[in-house]
C-alpha cells in the first residue's frame, strides 16, 4: 500500500465522525495525507478544526470512521485493540498536549514507563531513560517529581518519554502551547535537533506560526481537509 520509497505515513480518504448523543460531528472528511520519512511536519488550523483528532488517528489512539491509515506498510486501522496497543508502544512516541506525566513517579520513572512494555532489563531501562533525559537536557532533574518541575521541564520530560523507545514517528500536540517564548524555543530547538540529527519523523500540531516556521512543511486543517495555505 505504501507509495514511493521513503513514505512513512499515508492517510487515504479518511473520515472521522464523532457521535455525541444523537448528534454527529463530522470532524474530518475525505482527508488525504502523505508524510515522507524524516519529515518535520507542522499541522495548523483553528481551534476545534480537528488537529488533535488527526494526530490521534496517525498515532493509533483512535480509528477512522472511513478510509485507511497506512504507516510504514502496516494498515493500522485494521489492527485489533491489543495489537494496536503493541504497535503504538513500538512505533509511536506521543508528546501529549497536557504533559500527562504520572504525578507519583519521578521524571526518571516517567521516562522509563514505555520501556516496561519492552523486554529490556531493569538496568537497561534505567540506562535508556537516563540517555533520553540527557538528550532533553534534564539529567539533573531525574529524581524530581512532575509537580516540582516547570512547564518547560515537564514538556521536555514528556519528550524524553516519547523518544525513549526510539520510535519511528514522534507526534506532538501543541508542544509549545502553554510555554513562554524562551521555554518554547528550547522545546523547538530540541524537536528540530531530533529531526535533523536523529532523523526522527515528527508531526507537530500547533497554532503558533513561529513554531510552525521550524518545521520543514506546514499544512492547514480546515473544514475537515488539509490544504497548503490557511483559508481565510
Amino acid at each position: 500500500m505504501t507509495g514511493g520509497e521513503g513514505l512513512l505515513v499515508r492517510l487515504d480518504n479518511v473520515d472521522k465522525v464523532f457521535k455525541r448523543g444523537s448528534e454527529e460531528i463530522h470532524v474530518l472528511g475525505g482527508l488525504n495525507l502523505e508524510i515522507p520519512k524524516g519529515e518535520f511536519l507542522a499541522l495548523m488550523g483553528p481551534s476545534g478544526s480537528g488537529k488533535s483528532t488527526l494526530l490521534n488517528l496517525i498515532g493509533g489512539l483512535d480509528r477512522p470512521s472511513q478510509g485507511t491509515i497506512d504507516i510504514s506498510g502496516e494498515q493500522i486501522d485494521a489492527l485489533s485493540g491489543r495489537r494496536l496497543a503493541a504497535w503504538r508502544a513500538r512505533h509511536v512516541g506521543l508528546v501529549f498536549q497536557f504533559y500527562n506525566l504520572i504525578p507519583v513517579l519521578s521524571a526518571q520513572k516517567n521516562v522509563e514507563l514505555p520501556l516496561l512494555l519492552t523486554h529490556l532489563s531493569r538496568a537497561q531501562r534505567k540506562k535508556h531513560a537516563s540517555t533520553a533525559l540527557d538528550i532533553v537536557g534534564l539529567s539533573h532533574r531525574a529524581s524530581h517529581f512532575p509537580r516540582t518541575l516547570s512547564g518547560g521541564e515537564q514538556r521536555r520530560v514528556g519528550i524524553a518519554r516519547a523518544i525513549v523507545t526510539d520510535p519511528t514517528l514522534l507526534l506532538c500536540d501543541e508542544p509549545t502551547g502553554d510555554l513562554d517564548r524562551k521555554a518554547g524555543d528550547e522545546v523547538l530547538d530540541l524537536l528540530q535537533a531530533l529531526n535533523r540529527e536523529q532523523g526522527k519523523t515528527i508531526v507537530m500540531v500547533t497554532h503558533d506560526a513561529h513554531a510552525a516556521a521550524r518545521a520543514s512543511r506546514t499544512l492547514y486543517l480546515n473544514k475537515g481537509q488539509l490544504s497548503l495555505a490557511p483559508l481565510e
Binding site: 503493541a86 497536557f98 514507563l113
Partner: protein, 399 residues
C-alpha cells in the same frame, strides 16, 4: 510480541502506580476499609455465636456415651423412666463396667427459676438429680470451688456456666426448691459442656420433693467402646418390657442445638448480606472516585501501549487490597472483642438457658475475610471495566 510475561509485568507496574496514588485517596479508601471491616466484624461475631453453641454441645458429648429416654420424648424434661425400666436399661449389653457394675447413671431433670445476672429477670435453670454414677459417665467432672454435696442432704452444687449466668448461686447462698432452702456448697466444671449450666443435687433427695417415687427421667450410660452402641440399642429397642429410645449423646445434643444453630447462622448470614450490600456500594463509590480521578492517567498508560486487561486487573487489585485490609480489621476486631465472650441463650428444646462462649474460630475468620474480598471484587469490577471502556482519545480530553 506481547507474551504473558509482558502482560504480567504490565499488571505489576500498573498496580504499583495505583498503590502509589493511594495516599492521595486516604479518606475515601479508609471509609471503604472501615465499611467493610464493620460488615465483617458483625458477620463474624454473629456466626461465632452459632459456633460457640455448637462447641458447647460438642463439648457436652462423649462418643462413648449413650442417653436413654422414653421413646417419643424429645428432651430429658419430657421423658419418664420407671424404676424397673432403669434396672433393665442398666443391664443392657455392651456397657462399660467397674467394680460396682455397669456404668449407668439414672437422673432426674427438672427446671427451677432463678434471676439472670444480665437482666435481673427470672429464667429457667435445669436442676439435675444425680447419683454416684453421674461422675463416672462424665469423666471431665471436677469440683473447682467449695466441695461436693453430701449424699442424702439437701445441698446443691452449681456449674460454672450457671454461676456465671445467674445470681444467687454463690457458695453459701441457697436456692429455693419447693418450700425449702437448699444451700450451694460447691462449683463444678464438666469440660465446657452443657451440664455446666445446670445445678446438681442428689437424685434421692430430689425424688420425694417432686413426688417421683423411684422413677427417673433419663439414663446416661457409658459404652465399652463407641462401636457397642448398635448392640446396646438393638437389645433395648427389641426388649418387650421397654419402650425407650437410646441415642448417642452427640446425636442428642446435635438434635437439641440444630434449630438454634440454623436460626442464628441464618440470621447472621442475612445480616451479613444486607450489610454487605451496603458495603458493596461503599466500595463501588470509592473505586469509581479512584478511577475517575485517574481517568487521564489510565488513558495515558493505554496511549503508551499498556493493555486494557492489566488496567482492569490493577483496579481490581486495589479494591481487593482495600477489602482485604477491611476484612482483616473486621475479623480481628470480632476476634479481639468477642472470642470467649460468655453469653447465654434459650435452649428451645428444654426451655432452659444454655451458657456458651462466642467462638471466633479460624475458619470463621477466613470466611469473614473471603466475604470481604467478594465485596471488594464486586465493588471494584464495575469501576475497573468502566476505566477502560471509554475510548482513549475521549479519556485524554478529560481534565
Amino acid at each position: 510480541m506481547a507474551g504473558p510475561i509482558n502482560w504480567l509485568s504490565q499488571v505489576a507496574s500498573v498496580t504499583q502506580f495505583n498503590f502509589l496514588t493511594l495516599p492521595q485517596r486516604k479518606g475515601a479508601s479508609a471509609a471503604a476499609i472501615f465499611g467493610i471491616a464493620g460488615v465483617v466484624a458483625v458477620m463474624v461475631a454473629v456466626l461465632s455465636i452459632a459456633e460457640g453453641i455448637m462447641q458447647t454441645m460438642d463439648n457436652s458429648a462423649s462418643p462413648e456415651n449413650v442417653i436413654v429416654m422414653r421413646s417419643g420424648a424429645n428432651s430429658e424434661m419430657m421423658s419418664i423412666l420407671m424404676g424397673d425400666d432403669v434396672r433393665i436399661i442398666s443391664e443392657g449389653p455392651g456397657l462399660a463396667r467397674d467394680e460396682t457394675g455397669a456404668i449407668a447413671s439414672p437422673e432426674l431433670f427438672v427446671v427451677i427459676n432463678l434471676p439472670m445476672r444480665s437482666t435481673g429477670t427470672d429464667a429457667n435453670v435445669p436442676l439435675r438429680g444425680v447419683g454416684r454414677e453421674a461422675m463416672k459417665v462424665r469423666q471431665q467432672f471436677s469440683i473447682v470451688d467449695g466441695r461436693m454435696f453430701q449424699w442424702g442432704l439437701h445441698e446443691v452444687i452449681v456449674g460454672v456456666g450457671a454461676q456465671y449466668q445467674f445470681s444467687g448461686l454463690e457458695i453459701g447462698s441457697s436456692i429455693t426448691v419447693g418450700q425449702e432452702q437448699w444451700p450451694v456448697v460447691g462449683v463444678f466444671h464438666v469440660g465446657g459442656g452443657l451440664a455446666e449450666t445446670e445445678v446438681w443435687v442428689d437424685s434421692a433427695v430430689l425424688q420425694p420433693v417432686y413426688r417421683r417415687g423411684n422413677s427417673f427421667q433419663v439414663v446416661y450410660a457409658k459404652l465399652e467402646s463407641e462401636d457397642s452402641f448398635q448392640e446396646y440399642k438393638d437389645a433395648l429397642t427389641s426388649d418387650p418390657r421397654l419402650n425407650v429410645k437410646p441415642m448417642r449423646e452427640s446425636d442428642y445434643y446435635a438434635s437439641q442445638s440444630e434449630m438454634l444453630y440454623k436460626l442464628i447462622t441464618g440470621l447472621g448470614t442475612l445480616i451479613a448480606l444486607i450489610m454487605g450490600f451496603g458495603a458493596v456500594f461503599g466500595a463501588l463509590n470509592t473505586m469509581y472516585t479512584a478511577v475517575s480521578s485517574r481517568t487521564r492517567e489510565i488513558a495515558t498508560l493505554r496511549a503508551l501501549g499498556f493493555n486494557a486487561g492489566p488496567v482492569v486487573i490493577s483496579v481490581l487489585m486495589e479494591s481487593l487490597l482495600l477489602a482485604f485490609i477491611g476484612g482483616v480489621i473486621g475479623a480481628g476486631l470480632a476476634w479481639w472483642v468477642f472470642d470467649g465472650f460468655r453469653a447465654a441463650t434459650l435452649n428451645f428444646a428444654s426451655f432452659s438457658q444454655v451458657a456458651f462462649a462466642f467462638n471466633v474460630s479460624l475458619p470463621l475468620l477466613v470466611r469473614g475475610i473471603v466475604f470481604a474480598m467478594i465485596i471488594g471484587l464486586i465493588g471494584g469490577l464495575f469501576p475497573a471495566v468502566r476505566s477502560v471502556r471509554q475510548p482513549i482519545s475521549t479519556a485524554l480530553r478529560e481534565l
